[in-house]
Amino acid sequence: MTATTDGGGLREQPAGAVALLELKGVSKRFGAVQALHEVDFDVRAGEVTALVGDNGAGKSVTIKCIAGIYPIDDGEVLWEGRPVTISGPKDASALGIEIVYQDLALADNLDVVQNMYLGREETTRLRALDETKMERRCSKTLASLSVTTIRSVRQTVAGLSGGQRQSIAVAKAVMWNSRLVILDEPTAALGVAQTRQVLDLVKRLAEQGLAVMLVSHNLHDIFEVADRITVLRLGQDVARFNTKQTTQREVVEAITAGTLSTVPGQEEAPVL
């Protein structure tokens, strides 16, 4: 057990294991725009960590830096305490990071099995697709996640409800030895019952020992499933909370008025 690698030590953290993924002082600029400024953030196995913030706070940029889509300008990314460079989606999935984007990236014309295996199809010795093997493993994975509402894994994804589609996207992400699953606004387009389905699924992922990073606007959902919350505001992490020891009001205050270490665009002095 190494000492906690918590960079800023803003709030007390449940002491214990090394964080699975940790960002330390990560910065990212796009020309004149400082998208991220010295962001510290960490995710632990078996926990749901929420990343919240208003529009433009830098949530998506953070995800894309972790995914290796944007190279970071400054700072460090640690995986199990060791510094790593993630320079593309392939690196990310090699580490065991899978991201479920808001648009889910499912091909409507393909069935559930075909979608879950897309890009990683199993083949027989004769280079033909091994449909039986793929179908079996999909059914197993879905059963292990208690996704029971799907009638047949051979129906096309077009015929599934929003919640079912989200479940498929998540199941697809966790099927590949993944250790960290990042969910981008998983409940944004869902109704009440379907949101329930997806939140239950998120909890099960953490129970099974995966690290889950949940990016969302919806504080209600976050308070239901997240263990810890990190608040981004204008590209900086302004607060960290333990869900059990805080209130929605506190989090909202941090989102809208959290203390910034530097004010973006300092040349324009803040008007008082």
């Binding site: 989606p89 392939k90 984007y101 648009d103 889910l104 990236a105 499912l106 091909a107 409507d108 014309n109 393909l110 075909q114 979608n115 897309l118 890009g119 990683r120 199809e121 083949t123 280079r127 033909a128 697709l129 039986t132 093997k133 179908e135 079996r136 493993r137 059914s139 197993k140 994975t141 059963a143 292990s144 996640l145 047949s152 096309t156 077009a158 015929g159 599934l160 409800s161 929003g162 966790v174 099927m175 030895n177 993944s178 250790r179 099974q208 020992g209 995966l210």
Partner: protein, 410 residues
């Protein structure tokens, strides 16, 4: 799966769907807009009845053989078109690319003392088709010009190449027996029956093997009765075809070629990783890219296959006409081929379709063309009717697509 190893309930031994459940699923699919080959088979029936009532020579053995030979070039070119349509792209150059194929074949086989072996000529022509298609694909993907524009330019340019290649010759008569034999020679009667039995036997074996592996893996199988009916259906259809063509001249070799390529490309599309990726790119290119699929590579290969099949169609057309002239690749071949793929049920919107739609659509097109010809109607009428049928097919596609969208967010 290392992180998630739950205790799994072992599936009950080899469940088989009941006939009722199978029928219900099929009905659900049709209602949800997955029409499959249903509209086209109904359409073919209507066409046969209408023309037979108008002219009792339509459903004769002789005309049936004619229909096969006339439809074959469209079917072959349309098979290539299916690949680009599956991507949601289009290839407008196939007509003149097929013309280029026909002209190169004829030129290389000119009996001028240095004629290479026919097999070598065919390989060279197929190679030129692949090169043409790869070129289209590279321009479309690497420069990022829409396929509509690139292949429209191709339509003009390859027409020009046909004219340049033919030069002042006007018409080149084909004299190679092998090439001419494609469309003008017939499989001996006994051999046709053997071929037919082999095809049915192979199909039955594949079906049974599928049943066994799925049962062994504990996966749900289609009812045995349905599988039996499928095999029986294929047997009856092929037996009918062989019987009727043997009443006349026999089974044209080109029909065997179409059958073999149908099986080959169906295998590529439905049973290989490449085929799966074609569907994925057509269904959601972004999802495909995120899944690590090289989208550009898939597109280039599809355009290469499209031009390859275009030159195959060009060779067969040249074989049927026994010559090529400055009109090679012109006329109706481009539009008939695209229409065949679409009428057969391949969606213009990408991601949905089968190779068999090329064959079914070509049958419809050839039937209309042939039937209206028998009625002595002008080509003006032919084009109008074919155009209306194409419109109808696209309308069915659009409406069933709406059905899918509505059932999609249930």
């Amino acid at each position: 799966m290392s992180t998630i190893t739950p205790p799994l309930p072992t599936p009950a031994a080899a469940p088989t769907a009941t006939i009722g459940a199978y029928a219900r699923r099929w009905a659900d699919n049709v209602r949800g807009g997955e029409l499959g080959s249903l509209p086209i088979i109904l359409g073919l029936l209507v066409i046969c009845v209408v023309f037979q009532v108008q002219n009792d020579r339509f459903l004769t053995a002789g005309n049936f053989v004619n229909l096969m030979v006339q439809g074959a070039p469209f079917a072959l070119v349309a098979m290539g078109i299916v690949f680009v349509l599956l991507l949601g792209e289009i290839d407008l150059s196939v007509g003149y690319v097929s013309g280029v194929g026909g002209v190169i074949t004829a030129l290389l086989l000119l009996p001028d003392g240095s004629t290479p072996p026919t097999a070598l000529v065919i390989l060279a022509v197929l190679g030129s088709g692949l090169i043409i298609g790869t070129l289209h694909g590279l321009i479309i993907t690497k420069i990022g010009i829409p396929s509509f524009v690139v292949t429209l330019a191709g339509l003009l340019a390859w027409n020009g190449v046909v004219l340049l290649l033919i030069g002042s010759r006007g018409t080149i008569v084909l004299q190679d027996d092998l090439i001419i034999g494609f469309a003008n020679d017939f499989v001996p009667e006994g051999a046709a029956w053997v071929l037919m039995l082999l095809a049915v036997g192979a199909y039955a074996a594949v079906q049974l093997w599928g049943l066994r592996t799925r049962a062994a893996a504990g996966l749900e199988n289609d009812p045995l009765l349905i599988v039996g009916l499928r095999v029986l259906g294929l047997f009856l259809a092929l037996a009918f075809v062989v019987w009727i063509v043997n009443e006349d001249r026999g089974l044209p070799y080109v029909a065997v070629l179409v059958g073999l390529l149908l099986v080959f490309w169906t295998y590529i599309l439905r049973r290989t990783v490449f085929g799966r990726h074609v569907y994925a790119v057509g269904g959601n290119a972004e999802a495909a890219r995120r899944a690590g699929i090289d989208v550009d590579r898939i597109k280039i290969i599809c355009f290469a296959i499209c031009s390859l099949m275009a030159v195959v169609g060009g060779i067969v057309l040249a074989s049927r006409l026994r010559s090529v002239d400055t009109n090679a690749g012109g006329g109706a071949i481009l539009l008939y081929s695209i229409a065949a793929a679409v009428i057969g049920g391949t969606s213009l919107f990408g991601g949905r379709g089968h190779i068999k739609s090329a064959l079914l659509g070509a049958l419809v097109i050839a039937s209309i063309d042939n039937g209206l010809g028998l009625l002595g109607l002008s080509s003006g009428t032919k084009f109008v009717v074919t155009g209306l049928v194409l419109l109808l097919a696209v309308a069915v596609d659009s409406i069933s697509r709406r059905g899918r969208e509505q059932s999609g967010r249930a």
